[in-house]
C-alpha cells in the first residue's frame, strides 16, 4: 500500500492561520479520497511559514471495482418501459441480460464501475482542495486567477511504495505537481528531490527546515529555558506567543538579551506588552528582584557570528520601542504630578462615548453618581467610591494607554499610586473593568465593587435607553458580558441590592441633566436633556433671559417603566444562563422570579439554590405533585363555581384524622415559614414546606374533596387553598415542570 505526501509551497503563510490550515488540509484530502473509495491507515499535517504538508500512510492503490445489478421490466413489457430502463442505466439493448423470474423473463442490467488508481483520485481531490481552500483571507497574484493565502509556488505530490515514487499527475493554472521542494530560504535555497515522507523530513532538516511546529515550539522553549536558567532567570510562559513565534520560523534560533537598565523602572506590564506586541519577544524575569530584566527573541537562521548581529539589531529596536514607552511613562507621570489623576482625565469631556449617550466625561459623572449610591450597600465609603469613579478612566487620556490600549486600568492603578491616592482608589482604577471573561476573578475590595457595578449598570441602562440591545449573535457593546459581570459581582460578594432602585433614577437624572457635547476644540454646555427621544415629546421652545435657547419636554414615564422592566428581564435571562451552568434548572429560577424582590439577584439566587436543593429530596419532589393536585382541583372548582376559595377553612368541619392532621401540619408549617422567609432562611422555609408532603399525600389518599355536603366540600376546597397559599409564599411552584 502506497503512502501519499503532499506539500504546498508558497510565500509566507501568516502564523495565526497555520493551525487551522493544517487541520483543513488533512480533513479535505482524507474525506475526499475516502469518499472516492480509498482507505488509509493514518494521516498527519504539518506547516512552516512557507509550506503546508500532509502525509497519508497506507493508502489503497486503487478504489474497488463496484458491481451493481438492477432489475428492469419484463422482456415482454411495452417498448417504452424498456427504453426508459435503458435510458436510466445508460446501457444498450445487447448489454441487458434476460433472466428467469417468478413471473417470466425479466431484463437485468449489470453495471460495473471499474476501480480507479489512487493517483487519479488524489489529483482530483487535491485540485478541488486547493481551489476551494477555506483560508480566512485569500488573494490572487500576477496575471492569474488562482487564489491562495499568498502566492503558491510549487506543489509536491507523490505516492510512494517499495518500488519507488510516482508523481500525482496534476496541473493547476500552470503549477505542475512534482517531487521536489526547497529548503530554508536563506540557508539552503536549493531544490530537493523527495522520495517519501521519511526522507522528506530528513532532507528538510538537513536543509535547515524543522517541519513539525510542535518540534519547533519544543526547541524554542527548551533553549529559552536553558539560557534563562544559566543566568538564574525564568522565562515568563506565554503559550499563544510560543505558537505564533513557531509559525514565523523554519529554523528557530533562540537568542536572549538583557533589557537596558534605564528601562527597568518601567512597570513590568509595560515591558511585557511592548516586547510582545511589537517585537514578539518573551519576557524573562529575574526571581531575585522580581523584575523583568531580559528578553528572548527567536531568529530564523544561524549566522557566522552566532546571532550577535541579529541580537544587537533586536536590542536596538527594543531600546527604541522602550524609549517611546519611557517617554510616555515620564510624560504621564509629569501630568499626574502637575494636575493629579483627575486632571489627566480632563480631556475626556471632549471624547465621544456614544453620540446619543454623550462624552466619556458625561459617562464618568453618571458612574460617579451611581457609585456613590451603591457604596453603602457594598460596605464602601460613598466619598471614596465617588472619587474612584471620577478617576478610574483617567488613564484613557494617558499617552501609555493611547499607545497600548490593553494596558487600560493597569496604568490607572500606577498613576493613582503616583498621585498619592489611597490603595482602594488605585485598585479600583485597575479592577473596575473586571470581570471581563467568565473565568476572570471578581473584585472583592468594596470600592472596586462599587465602581465596577456602577460602570456596568450605567452601560446597560444607557444602551437600553437608546434601544441598542443585543440581538442574536450581535452584541457590539458587550452588554451580555456587562450583565454577567453584575450578576457575578453581587453574587460572589453577597451584595444585596434591588437593581430597579438604581436603574429607574438613571432616567430621571439623565432626562433632566445638563449635558456637555464635544464640539471642535472647545466644549459647549447645552442645558438640554440627552436626546432620549422615545421618552420625550417636545412641547415648546424659546429664549432664556440671557438669550440662550431652551426647549420644554413631556417625559413619558410609562415608557421608562417598560424599558426598566425589559432590562430587568435581560438580567434574569443572563442569570438563568449563569445558573444553568451551576446546575440549577430554568423552571426553578422562574418559580423564584415570580416572588417579590426579583430585582435583587443575590436574593433570587439564594431562593433558587434552596428550592433546587429541596426539589432534589424525595419529599420535595412529591410535594410538587401534591401541590399541583391541590392547585388543579381548586382551579377547576373555582372555574366551575365562579368563586374564589381562599378563606375560612375550619378544622371543626374536618371529618377524618388525615384531614385534621393536615390542618395541624399547615398551622405548624405556616408558623415556621413566615419567620423563616422574613429572615431569608430559605432552606428552613423550604424544608417546612416539604414537611407538608406526608400529610398532603395522606389527605388525598383518605379524603374525597367533592363531598356530598356542600359545607364540607367548601371547607375542603378552602383547605386546598391554604396549601396553595403556603407553598406560593415560598415560591411559585406552578412554574415547576414535571
Amino acid at each position: 500500500m502506497p503512502d501519499l505526501l503532499i506539500e504546498l509551497f508558497s510565500e509566507e503563510i501568516p502564523a495565526r492561520m497555520q493551525p487551522k490550515a493544517r487541520a483543513d488540509l488533512q480533513k479535505l484530502i482524507t474525506d475526499g479520497v475516502v469518499e472516492a473509495g480509498l482507505t488509509y491507515a493514518s494521516a498527519g499535517a504539518f506547516s512552516t511559514p512557507r509550506r503546508l504538508t500532509l502525509t497519508i500512510e497506507g493508502l489503497t492503490a486503487n478504489s474497488p471495482t463496484l458491481r451493481e445489478e438492477r432489475k428492469g421490466p419484463r422482456t415482454d413489457a411495452p417498448e417504452k418501459a424498456i427504453e426508459g430502463f435503458l435510458r436510466s442505466t445508460g446501457l444498450t439493448m445487447d448489454q441487458l441480460e434476460a433472466r428467469d423470474d417468478k413471473k417470466g423473463q425479466v431484463y437485468f442490467a449489470v453495471i460495473e464501475k471499474p476501480g480507479r488508481p489512487a493517483t487519479e483520485i488524489v489529483a482530483e481531490v487535491l485540485e478541488k482542495t486547493i481551489r476551494n481552500f477555506p483560508w480566512p483571507k485569500s488573494m490572487r497574484w500576477g496575471a492569474g486567477s488562482l487564489r491562495w493565502v499568498r502566492p503558491l509556488h510549487s506543489i509536491l505530490a507523490i505516492l510512494s511504495d517499495e518500488a519507488g515514487a510516482t508523481v500525482v499527475p496534476l496541473d493547476i493554472d500552470g503549477i505542475t505537481a512534482g517531487d521536489t521542494t526547497r529548503g530554508h530560504r536563506f540557508m539552503a535555497p536549493d531544490t530537493i528531490q523527495v522520495g517519501g515522507f521519511e526522507s522528506y523530513t530528513k532532507q528538510l532538516k538537513a536543509a535547515k527546515v524543522m517541519l513539525d511546529p510542535a518540534e519547533r515550539e519544543a526547541a524554542i522553549w527548551h533553549d529559552a529555558e536553558q539560557m534563562a536558567f544559566a543566568k538564574g532567570w525564568e522565562v515568563v510562559p506565554d503559550k499563544g506567543l510560543l505558537a505564533e513565534v513557531a509559525g514565523l520560523v523554519e529554523w528557530p534560533v533562540t537568542l536572549m538579551g538583557e533589557i537596558d537598565a534605564q528601562f527597568l523602572e518601567l512597570p513590568p506590564e509595560v515591558l511585557q506588552t511592548s516586547m510582545k506586541e511589537h517585537q514578539k519577544f518573551f519576557s524573562v524575569k529575574n526571581p531575585k528582584t522580581g523584575r523583568i530584566e531580559g528578553f528572548v527573541t527567536v531568529a530564523n537562521r544561524e549566522t557566522a557570528d552566532h546571532g550577535a548581529t541579529i541580537l544587537a539589531g533586536n536590542q536596538k529596536v527594543l531600546s527604541a520601542r522602550l524609549s517611546d514607552a519611557k517617554f510616555f511613562w515620564e510624560n504621564d507621570l509629569r501630568t499626574v504630578a502637575a494636575h493629579g489623576l483627575e486632571g489627566m482625565g480632563a480631556g475626556l469631556d471632549a471624547v465621544t462615548f456614544h453620540n446619543k449617550l454623550g462624552s466619556q466625561g458625561d459617562r464618568i459623572r453618571r458612574i460617579e453618581a451611581l457609585a456613590r449610591e451603591i457604596a453603602p450597600l457594598v460596605g464602601a465609603s460613598p466619598d471614596l467610591a465617588a472619587e474612584a469613579a471620577r478617576v478610574a478612566k483617567s488613564d484613557l487620556r494617558s499617552e501609555m494607554v493611547y499607545e497600548f490600549p490593553e494596558l487600560q486600568g493597569v496604568m490607572g492603578r500606577y498613576y493613582a499610586q503616583k498621585a498619592g491616592l489611597t490603595d482602594a482608589v488605585a485598585d479600583a482604577c485597575r479592577d473596575h473593568y473586571a470581570p471581563l471573561g467568565p473565568s476572570d476573578d471578581v473584585p472583592s475590595e468594596p470600592v472596586s465593587v462599587a465602581v465596577a457595578l456602577a460602570d456596568k449598570i450605567d452601560t446597560l441602562t444607557g444602551f437600553w435607553a437608546i434601544d441598542e440591545k443585543p440581538t442574536g449573535s450581535k452584541d457590539p457593546f458587550a452588554l451580555r458580558r456587562a450583565a454577567l459581570g453584575v450578576i457575578r459581582l453581587v453574587r460572589e460578594n453577597d451584595v444585596r441590592m434591588g437593581l430597579e432602585r438604581f436603574i429607574a433614577p438613571w432616567f430621571e437624572r439623565e432626562l433632566f441633566a445638563t449635558r456637555s457635547y464635544p464640539s471642535g476644540n472647545g466644549i459647549v454646555e447645552k442645558p438640554q436633556p440627552l436626546r432620549l427621544t422615545q421618552f420625550l415629546t417636545k412641547t415648546g421652545e424659546g429664549e432664556n433671559e440671557d438669550g440662550s435657547y431652551y426647549e420644554d419636554f413631556d417625559i413619558h414615564w410609562a415608557q421608562i417603566d417598560v424599558t426598566v422592566a425589559d432590562l430587568l428581564s435581560f438580567f434574569h435571562d443572563r442569570l438563568k444562563v449563569h445558573l444553568r451552568d451551576a446546575g440549577i434548572r430554568h423552571d426553578v429560577i422562574d418559580a423564584v422570579l415570580a416572588m417579590p424582590g426579583s430585582d435583587d439577584l443575590t436574593l433570587v439566587v439564594k431562593r433558587a439554590e434552596a428550592l433546587s436543593e429541596t426539589l432534589k429530596t424525595d419529599d420535595g419532589e412529591n410535594l410538587i405533585q401534591g401541590f399541583k393536585r391541590a392547585n388543579n382541583i381548586l382551579t377547576q372548582a373555582e372555574e366551575k363555581d365562579g368563586v374564589e376559595y381562599s378563606f375560612g377553612a375550619d378544622v371543626k368541619f374536618a371529618e377524618t384524622e388525615e384531614e385534621k392532621a393536615l390542618f395541624a401540619a399547615l398551622d405548624a408549617a405556616e408558623a415556621k415559614i413566615a419567620p423563616a422567609m422574613a429572615a431569608e432562611d430559605f432552606a428552613a422555609a423550604m424544608s417546612a414546606m416539604a414537611s407538608l408532603r406526608a400529610p398532603i399525600d395522606a389527605f388525598f389518599e383518605a379524603v374525597q374533596i367533592n363531598a356530598e355536603a356542600e359545607v364540607i366540600r367548601r371547607n375542603r376546597l378552602n383547605l386546598l387553598s391554604r396549601i396553595r397559599q403556603i407553598c406560593l409564599d415560598v415560591a411559585d411552584l406552578t412554574k415547576i415542570e414535571g
Binding site: E11, E12, P14, A15, R16, P49, K137, M139, R140, W141, G142, A143, G144, S145, V149, R150, P151, H153, F186, L248, V249, Q279, T297, A299, N300, R301, T303, A304, D305, T309, I310, A312, G313, N314, K316, V317, L318, A320, S323, V351, T352, N355, P518, S519, G520, N521
Partner: protein, 312 residues
Amino acid sequence: MAKADAPKSFQEIILRLMSYWASKGCAVLQPYDMEVGAGTFHPATTLRALGDKPWAAAYVQPSRRPTDGRYGENPNRLQHYYQYQVLIKPSPPDLQELYLGSLRAIGIDTELHDIRFVEDDWESPTLGAWGLGWEVWCDGMEVSQFTYFQQVGGHDCKPVSGELTYGLERLAMYVLGIDHVMDMPYNDPSAPIALKYGDVFRQTEQEYSRWNFDIADTDMLLKHFEDAEAECERILASPETDDAGRKIIMAHPAYDQCIKASHLFNLLDARGVISVTERQAYIGRVRALAKKCADAFVQTEAGGAVESEAVA
C-alpha cells in the same frame, strides 16, 4: 555593518535603490508634485495599478503626515519624510527575491541578518484599496511594506500589482547605525560641505509642526476641502468630448483634486477639529472621490480601455 561596500549616507541609499530597481527594469520616476500622505497616492501607483496594461515604476515620494510632527525632537517621527516606492504589474513570481536583492544592494548582508516576512494586510480606507502581504522585518525592525494589491478605488486589480514601500529614514538609520534621525548624514560625511538630515530638515519640522498644530486656518482648510471635492466632481462630470471633438477623459486632473482633499483632511485632523464621528464621514467623502477617479481612469487608454475604433 561597517563593511567596505556599506553606504555612507542617506542619499547613497536612495541612489543605490534607484540604480538597483532601474537595473531590474523599472522606470525611475520622480516624486509627484503634490502633498500626499504616502507613496501609494502617486498616480503612478494608485491609477496605474488599475487596468491590464503592464507597468513597472520606482520612485521616491516625499510624504506628509501632519499628526506625526514632533518639532524635530523625536528620534523617529517626522511630519515630512520619504518613502521609496516600487510598483510592478503583473507582480513577477520572483518579487520576494527581487526585494531581497534590493536589501543586499543597500548593504544589508542577508547571511548575517534575520529577514522575515510577517503578516500585515494593507488597507487604505481613503483610497478604497486593500491588499495582502507582509511587513518585512530585519532583526525585528520593520523595514518595508510588501503588498499584493487586490483592489483599488473599488476595482478588482487584474492583473495584480506587487507594491514595495520602504520607509527611507528608518531603513537608512538602521543601515547607517544612527539613533536620531537628525544626526543621520544626508550626503557623504567626507564631502567638503557635509550635511546631516537635521541640517536639511530640523527647521522645517519645527515650522510645519507649529503650523500644522496651531496656526493653519481651519475655516480656510475646510473651504479648500469642499472646493477640491466640488472641482473633482465637476471635472468628472464634464462631457467626454471637448469642443474640437477630441475624446479626453480627465482622470488625472480629477485625481489631483482627490489628493488635495485627502491632504486637507489630514491637516484638519492634525488641528483636532474633526470628531470621531465626523472622521468616518470625511474619509468616506475622499473615498467616494477616489472611486470616481478610478472609474474614470479605467475608461482611458492608460487604464486599459480599448477604443472602439481601434477594435474595428
